[in-house]
Subunit: 147 residues, 2 copies
């Protein structure tokens, strides 16, 4: 019985990534679902707003380097977990916003993420837990990360 | 591929119960998992602590009536969703505590609940979202309730 058709995995590069990816792969296989991986690069520009904005002259190169490195790391994770068929996505931005946007744009019906950690479900919660979960247009699976 | 062996569904009797139960049944079938339903009766004793405690003489009867009515409602829900094999549990207490206790005592590996509503995932969150999810010993699936 198929119930999920497009599963999004919110991936960080911490120790919990393996558990989350492994669980997501099993669910995708059970449901014959498409699997997309999304890593959000959180990059705070080196600007101190109390003073003049200070921007390095090679600013745009740095962003590209960050994205490129994250893309390489994501590709390696996929190889390790035999996820060659998964669609890989690396974007620059705020995780909560980018995850919501991706789910809406690509009509995902399940998000799989870690139950804690820097890129875990707490990203979607914060002080307005109920509101954010209410807004999210699909199911969310928080995978328990064994300490 | 089997990954979940014992699934707990936190059930309320709102309109969202159908979506949650239907999703939980599908996942249980996919995994050939045991399915347990838990409804927590939240009953606040009629005591106004600003004055003397006021207790009705038929206090214990009222509690039994509440539990019995909830048990009947749960049985009817199961019939409606062809869940005759599910284990039914009705307890009196605080949802967050009772759900955590049940999961620990019965070694559940997945909780399925609504993404909002009176008995939705917000019960497990509150102001300490990350801490509670961190403590919960299993995966949690928040099922999106279509408004």
């Amino acid at each position: 019985m198929t119930q999920y058709t497009h599963i999004l995995v919110a991936v960080d590069f911490s120790d919990s990534a393996s558990s989350v990816l492994s669980k997501a792969r099993q669910i995708a296989e059970q449901n014959k679902a498409k699997l997309s991986l999304l890593h959000v690069v959180e990059y705070l520009p080196p600007i101190d707003s109390a003073y003049e904005p200070i921007l390095a002259s090679n600013w745009s190169i740095d962003e590209q380097q960050l994205l490129s490195r994250a893309d390489n790391s994501l590709q390696q994770l996929c190889l390790q977990h035999s996820l060659q068929d998964a669609a890989l996505n690396v974007v620059l931005g705020t995780p909560k916003h980018e995850i919501t946007q991706f789910v809406t744009d690509h009509q995902c019906d399940l998000i799989v993420m870690g139950s804690h950690g820097r890129h875990g479900i707490s990203l979607l919660l914060g002080s307005t837990a109920n509101a954010v979960l209410h807004e999210m247009p699909c199911d969310i699976l928080a995978v328990k990360i064994k300490a």
